[in-house]
């Protein structure tokens, strides 16, 4: 399989990444500004999300409607999102439309008009979303887990806090954009049927003369362990568990990824087998490895009827305890097979590849080729996973959250 990766850096620091996938008709582009919820000022949790929404309500000469109509006239499947660390604008389209669409993105990033008359509706939209999330128990339990376990401000809810959003004004939005929406740390990724030199020329013409900016990085506070119960009146109780794992850039993230996949990454995983298949305790149970740039997290989740939630939590904790010394070669082979097919199938989607190369650059400062990624996982062994487990289990900072009518008993070692 031939793979062509490209990168270029503009004078103001904007990094441009590209992957040529000649068999596709489509192209996907994404712009990731290095500003997100971790930059929300004190008392304004949700401001970055509000800013992301306001950027769509007027940019350059385009009105709110004009932006959407210009995207849709070119048949762009577009999206906007704010994460803890980034504000992203993306789109996938038939390749010939890309040159017409790039100026829209440049307007969104460089020339948001932030009109005061649109602000009340934008704020109301963010508040409506927060109200809807209050009705989603699985979201609530994971939000509480992040809050108690992750170092501040990474544990704060990306989508915001209602009281803070209510208190925000248009001046907060304008100040935040002026201080933070800058080329510094920005990544532009493109994948699919691309003309690389042409793409770089166009992005340079649109963004190259934008002054780089000086916004400072954010330092993290301390993290877990903690236990917490959230009262929620529903039939099911939801449980979530977390402990520390290495960040993606650390070589051991490979072993952490594998160990969490073995614990709860698919239908043959330990948790699925023991919690769902053997005991019928729940519909959904999983474990996964999650990562920010500077820290990683091991996460387990399940939701089940209130009267069986304690047993579900007990089995999850027992399966975590049982991991060291029991990893089998078959389990390692299954992880490798899954990683390999995931990586190969990514090549069928321009949007998946644009996202993947942008993430790799953010975490590693470079892109990995497919061959390098595959070779990296070929080096995974029972011994390498066991040696990571020996350093991480039992977890030194286990956090446990339950959400439901009644609290669950958690191991006494965990402070509330």
């Amino acid at each position: 399989m031939k793979q062509t990766l490209h990168s270029a850096t503009l004078d103001n620091g904007i990094v441009i990444l590209g992957e040529h996938l000649p068999d596709l008709e489509s192209v996907a582009v994404s712009f990731h500004a290095a500003v997100g919820a971790v930059h929300d000022p004190p008392g304004r949790c949700g401001l970055a999300t509000l800013v992301g929404e306001m950027c769509l309500r007027g940019a350059g000469d385009r009105t709110s409607r004009g932006i959407v109509e210009d995207f849709e006239s070119a048949g762009v499947q577009w999206s906007q999102g704010v994460s803890a660390t980034h504000t992203s604008f993306s789109g996938a389209m038939v390749a010939r439309h890309l040159p017409d669409v790039l100026p829209i993105y440049a307007d969104l990033l460089r020339r948001p008009t932030l009109p005061a008359d649109e602000f009340p509706a934008a704020r109301q939209m963010v508040l409506q979303n927060l109200a809807a999330l209050e009705d989603d128990p699985a979201h609530l339990v994971m939000a509480e887990l992040r809050k108690i376990h992750c170092p501040a401000p990474w544990g704060m809810p990306t989508e915001g806090l209602s009281a803070d959003v209510e208190a925000a004004g248009i001046d907060d939005v304008r100040q935040f954009v002026a201080d933070r929406l800058q080329p510094r740390g920005m990544i532009v990724a493109v994948a699919g049927r691309i003309d690389w030199p042409d793409f770089v020329r166009r992005v340079d013409a649109l963004l190259g003369d934008w002054p780089p900016g000086t916004a400072a990085d954010v330092a993290g506070g301390p993290r877990g362990p903690r236990a917490s119960h959230v009262v929620h009146d529903a039939q099911q109780t939801h449980v979530a568990v977390a402990w520390s794992a290495p960040p993606y850039r650390d070589e051991a993230s490979r072993e952490a990824t594998a160990a969490l996949a073995i614990l709860g990454g698919g239908p043959s995983s330990r948790l699925f087998t023991e919690v769902r298949e053997r005991r019928g305790l729940c519909y959904g149970v999983s474990a996964s490895y999650q990562t920010s740039r500077d820290f990683g997290t091991a996460v387990c989740y399940s939701g089940t009827s209130a009267d069986r939630a304690q047993q579900t939590l007990d089995v999850i904790l027992a399966e975590i305890d049982r991991l060291p010394g029991t990893i089998t070669a078959d389990e390692i082979d299954r992880v490798k097979a899954r990683v390999k097919s995931g990586l190969v199938m990514q090549q069928e989607s321009s949007a998946a590849r644009a996202g993947a190369i942008a993430r790799q650059w953010y975490h590693l400062g470079r892109m990995r080729t497919l061959a390098e990624d595959l070779e990296r996982f070929d080096r995974l062994t029972v011994a390498s996973v066991e040696s990571w487990l020996a350093t991480t289990l039992p977890p030194g900072d286990l956090s446990v959250v339950s959400l439901g009518r009644e609290p669950l008993e958690v191991p006494r070692a965990i402070p509330a």
Binding site: E69, A234, Q236, D330, V339, G342
Partner: protein, 413 residues
């Protein structure tokens, strides 16, 4: 892309859409059975059976099935709807035979009583999970109110009572009646070795008895809601209200179904639509959508709305005003063209993913035994005219008597 088809002597259709540049192979069994084929005595059996298929065959345990799929790298999944039960996986091409072999063997499951009892607990948890989250069952309640005695009135999951009462023998009978080779299609898409696919099918499925499939109950669809007016589902702690409203639309064998799709995009897509600009962009609704759902012999136009409790009825009225204006002929050329571009672009982008194509091609063949390429679908979208939309709005009036269900903290009740 090439389309290939072969029918085994026992009636099983084997089809494939082969893409020369695809890197992966998606395969699936499409079984023509779902909640509409159930009676009260086996309500929820189609979906429960879908779970039981993963619990093993006489020779292969459920754990072994899970291990084998994970070892192939793709994992396997399934879904059940009103009319279809679909089992599928995506693998690298060298795993095609292994994937077809395992999926094929699973279609003749052991249905062991002990597994049935354990899995029943999982199904009950799944019912409770959906009941605890928006729209708190309002969608199922609304479909029941719209369809009345029609087979499409039945929810896919069943109820706690119907699942509790279901016995393993009734499920075994249901499987025997509904999983006949003539009601099933083996479909593949992407990097497919078709001769090998047919060879695997002969080996694994060739001995299946060619029983006559039990006929499907096909009624005339109600052209207006059977149970009209407003029902409420009360969840005292809900933050928002969730409304679902259904009126009749064209079914999937009706020529109006493609313009109906375009109309739904124009009026109620998640961005850039009339409902979006009038209700969501203003911050009044958390979500507002207008969708077209089609079934074999029936269709629905569905309005979904979530917002604060006090606003739900006024905003439903505003949506009705938006529909009335469209019906009175105020759709502009610009918005018509944007909706058409949007649909065309979706067709092209989805065409690049073998798994998306598998669902398109498999369901189309399973329902009507025809094949539509990406180019065919694109031509259909591009041939829709303004006049087609006016015809749909006239033939399927959006102000026809509707079923409406609102779930929320209580409202005026």
């Amino acid at each position: 892309m090439r389309f290939l088809h072969e029918r085994l002597p026992n009636g099983l259709d084997v089809i494939a859409e082969v893409g020369d540049s695809a890197l992966s192979t998606s395969v699936g069994f499409f079984v023509g059975t779902g909640s509409r084929d159930e009676s009260d005595a086996v309500w929820g059996a189609s979906h429960f059976l879908e779970h039981m298929v993963f619990k093993g065959t006489p020779d292969i345990s459920g754990d072994e099935i899970n291990r084998r799929f994970d070892a192939m790298g793709g994992g396997a999944n399934a879904f059940t709807s009103e009319e279809d039960t679909v089992y599928y996986t995506s693998v690298l091409p060298e795993r095609q035979d292994e994937a077809v072999d395992l999926l094929g063997r699973m279609m003749r499951p052991a249905l062991r009583a002990a597994d049935f009892d354990t899995e029943k607990l999982v199904i009950l948890e799944e019912i409770r999970m959906y009941d605890d989250q928006p729209p708190f069952g309002a969608d199922d309640r609304c479909r029941a109110a719209f369809f009345g005695g029609h087979p499409l009135a039945r929810s896919v999951l069943g109820t706690v009572d119907s699942i509790t009462a279901l016995g393993v023998d009734a499920m075994r009978d249901y499987h025997r009646q509904r999983y006949a080779p003539g009601t099933m299609v083996l479909a593949a898409s992407g990097a497919v070795d078709f001769p090998a696919l047919v060879e695997s099918a002969r080996r694994v499925c060739g001995e299946w008895a060619p029983e006559a499939p039990s006929p499907r109950g096909m009624d005339h669809q109600p052209l207006a809601a059977v149970s009209r007016g407003l029902e409420r589902v009360v969840r005292p702690t809900a933050s928002l209200d969730y409304a679902v409203r259904m009126v009749a639309g064209p079914g999937e064998r009706h020529e109006d179904r493609h313009p109906a799709q375009l109309l739904a995009t124009l009026l109620g897509d998640s961005s850039g639509s009339r409902l979006y600009w009038n209700l969501v962009d203003t911050g009044e609704a958390e979500h507002a959508a207008f969708l077209h759902h089609d079934f074999l012999d029936a269709g629905l136009f569905v309005t979904q709305l979530s917002c604060e409790a006090d606003d739900v009825e006024p905003l439903l009225a505003r949506a009705a005003d938006i529909f009335a204006a469209a019906s009175a002929g105020d759709i502009t050329t610009g918005e018509f063209q944007r909706a058409q571009n949007k649909l065309a672009s979706r067709v092209v982008l989805a065409g690049e993913r073998p798994l998306r194509r598998l669902f398109e091609v498999g369901l189309e063949w399973s329902h009507v035994r025809t094949y539509r390429s990406v180019a065919d679908s694109l031509r259909i979208v591009e041939s829709i005219s303004r006049g087609d939309l006016d015809r749909v709005l006239h033939a399927w009036p959006l102000d026809a008597p509707a079923a409406t269900v609102i779930a929320g903290s209580g409202g005026a009740a």
